[in-house]
Every structure is written in structure tokens, then in C-alpha cells.
Symmetry: C2
Subunit: 200 residues, 2 copies
């Protein structure tokens, strides 16, 4: 992210068109979900011509990718509550909120990632970045002496969050916030007892 945007003519109109289109994408997404997201509808709502949208964003997935990058909060970092369990619970609540929100932009982007490789790559990059940052909660726990250094940070975070994605995205079944908390606590407990060690 923070990809310099070195266009040869980044002037007023171009920028205005982009923000108008992305706003339209978000609105259409909210109204009709990803299935109802059409280049034509976005063009009509934004007041920009169809051809322009096709030329700059190529596909519907491209629009979503751009929206994702534009809205990327580059300063995101996991909350620091002082304990591994608290950090993981906070993390899982964020994920839970993102996946159960109506409409869920996250769900829409996931759907898009199954259509075009570009969307898939953008989403993978986004998540790799998020998981890399999230691993800090485990490293902090190691520093505090809360867990052993042989623990694999990535796996701990994965263990905590994976059930949420699995249940809400793939299985498409309800999952309470309490259940999300439970998975977080289970991951924390597992790490503290040394079960997440890479050479266990």
C-alpha cells in the first residue's frame, strides 16, 4: 500500500472522478451487495461514463480492489491490553465485527477474490500484512514472559481467528461474539501451556 500514485496527470478532474466512482461503489455495495454490483450501475450513480470506468478499473473486481486500497488504514495495529488473552479477544472482536456487519465489505471482497486473480492477490496481500502486524501480540507476550519463545506467533493468531472466518464465511452460520471470545481465550490458553510450539 502507499503506492505513490505517480500518474502523469493527477489533477483535479481525475481525482474527482476517482472519488465519485469509489463512493458509488460503496453505495451500490451497501444497497445490492456484491452480486448486484455492476459497472453500469456504478457509472450511472457516479455520473461518470461507462467507458471511463472500464478503462481505469477494467472490471467490477478492480473497483473493489481500489476501494480496498483506498480505504486501507495504514496505521492499523492490534490493541495492547496488557495480556495475550485480552489482545486476542480484542482482535477477534474486530474480525467478528467486520464479518457480521451488514453489508460487509470484507465479505464482498472475499467473494470478488474468487472471481479474478487481481482481487485474490490484493486480498492475500492485505491479510498477510494484517497477520504480520497481529503477531506482535504474541511477541509482546513472549517479552512479558507470559508464553515461551518457542511459540509460533503466526499460528497462535491463526488459531484464534480462523474459526471465525470458517464459521461466518464458509459455513455461513451464525456465531455470537461470546463464541468469538471463547476461541480467542482457547488460543491464548493453548499458547500459554506451550501447545503451539513449532517443535512440540
Amino acid at each position: 500500500m502507499t503506492t505513490g500514485e505517480r500518474a502523469s496527470r493527477p489533477g483535479g478532474r481525475t481525482a474527482r472522478v476517482r472519488s465519485d466512482v469509489l463512493a458509488a461503489v460503496e453505495a451500490e455495495l451497501a444497497e445490492h451487495g456484491y452480486d448486484g454490483l455492476t459497472v453500469d450501475a456504478v457509472a450511472a450513480r457516479s455520473g461518470v461514463h461507462r467507458t471511463t470506468v472500464y478503462r481505469r478499473w477494467k472490471t467490477v473486481a478492480g473497483l473493489l480492489v481500489d476501494l480496498l486500497q483506498a480505504g486501507l488504514d495504514d496505521s492499523w495495529e492490534p490493541a495492547d491490553t496488557g495480556t495475550l488473552e485480552g489482545d486476542l479477544v480484542a482482535l477477534n472482536r474486530e474480525v467478528h465485527e467486520a464479518l457480521t456487519a451488514r453489508p460487509s465489505v470484507t465479505q464482498a471482497v472475499i467473494a470478488a477474490s474468487f472471481r479474478t486473480p487481481e482481487a485474490a492477490d490484493a486480498l492475500t496481500a492485505f491479510w498477510v500484512d494484517r497477520y504480520r502486524r497481529s503477531a506482535d501480540v504474541v511477541r509482546r507476550a513472549v517479552v512479558r514472559g507470559e508464553v515461551d519463545e518457542s511459540i509460533d506467533p503466526h499460528e497462535v493468531v491463526m488459531t484464534a481467528t480462523a474459526p471465525l472466518y470458517h464459521q461466518l464465511v464458509l459455513l455461513r452460520q451464525p456465531l455470537s461474539e461470546a463464541a468469538a471470545d471463547r476461541y480467542a481465550r482457547a488460543a491464548a490458553a493453548s499458547a500459554r501451556s506451550g501447545l503451539g510450539s513449532t517443535h512440540a
Copy 2:
């Protein structure tokens, strides 16, 4: 599944058309993946007319759903190795195999489930059934006295398998069979130490 097939005329041609079309779907899927799966291509390859395919299966997703149901092994049940850990490892290897196979019908069906509600419902039903049966491995462990009866069977299985789906389907990153084994063992250990209790 085992839905009686009470068509008003289930005669020879109808059955032949169905098997020809489904065979074509499988072949097309193997060659071009889900993205390249077209009703027209399926019709051409099977020698059945476009209109017929549209009338009986409605959409591409419908074809996949039917393929899924036709190939459904209705007698599936989890392996019984004698220990919870062994059962979960065996389970995770099955999931790992299904998700890393090329081409993966499972991956294709997942992709389809993001397009039409019918495919989503079929997939959800399929998975609910699988997880219900899989929960037996935990119930057997309870009977053996291996784990406490307060353990939630569903959550144990979920904890073991979710990371595989998350890593291979959503994050789209490689995952070794050894890593799959590790997640299975972690879930087993967590259950044995009582961390998966519903009232923990």
C-alpha cells in the same frame, strides 16, 4: 441426499443426458477450472443442447451442485484410530487432500457458493452433515474417558479443521501436511486439558 428422484419420466434418455452432462462438467472443470466453466462449453462437450442444460440445471452453479450431490459418498464417516489425536489427524489429512488436489472440486464449489444462494445452501448442508458426523470422534473420546463430557464436540472439530480452510482457501497460501497434523494435535491437546469446555 438420497432424494428419491421421483421424476415423472426417469427413463433412459433423461438419465443418459444427465450422466453425459455431469461427465462434461467434471471434464471442463478439470481443464479450465471453475472460471472457465460455461454452460455452452458443457453443452457442446456433452452433445446436449444448450436449452436443455438451461432448463434442467438453470445455472453453472446448479451444475456443480448436482455434480456434488451425485458424487456424494453417503456412507462417509470419520476414521476410528483409537485416540482423539489420531482421529483428528486423519480428519485433517482428508481435508488437506481435498483442498490441495488439482483441480479441487471442493474449491470450485466454494467459489460457486459465492455466486448463487442455491450453491451456498447445498454447500452449507453438506458441511453441516460432515461436521455432525465428525463430532463422533469427540464423543468416542468422551466414552473412553479421554476428555471431559463438558467438551463441545463441534468446537473441537472446528478448532482442528478451521485453520486448513482459512490458510488454503481464504489466505491462499501453502500449508504442509505436517502443519495440518500440528493443528489436529493442538486441538486434541486443548480438548484433553479441558480448554474447549462450553462453560469454561
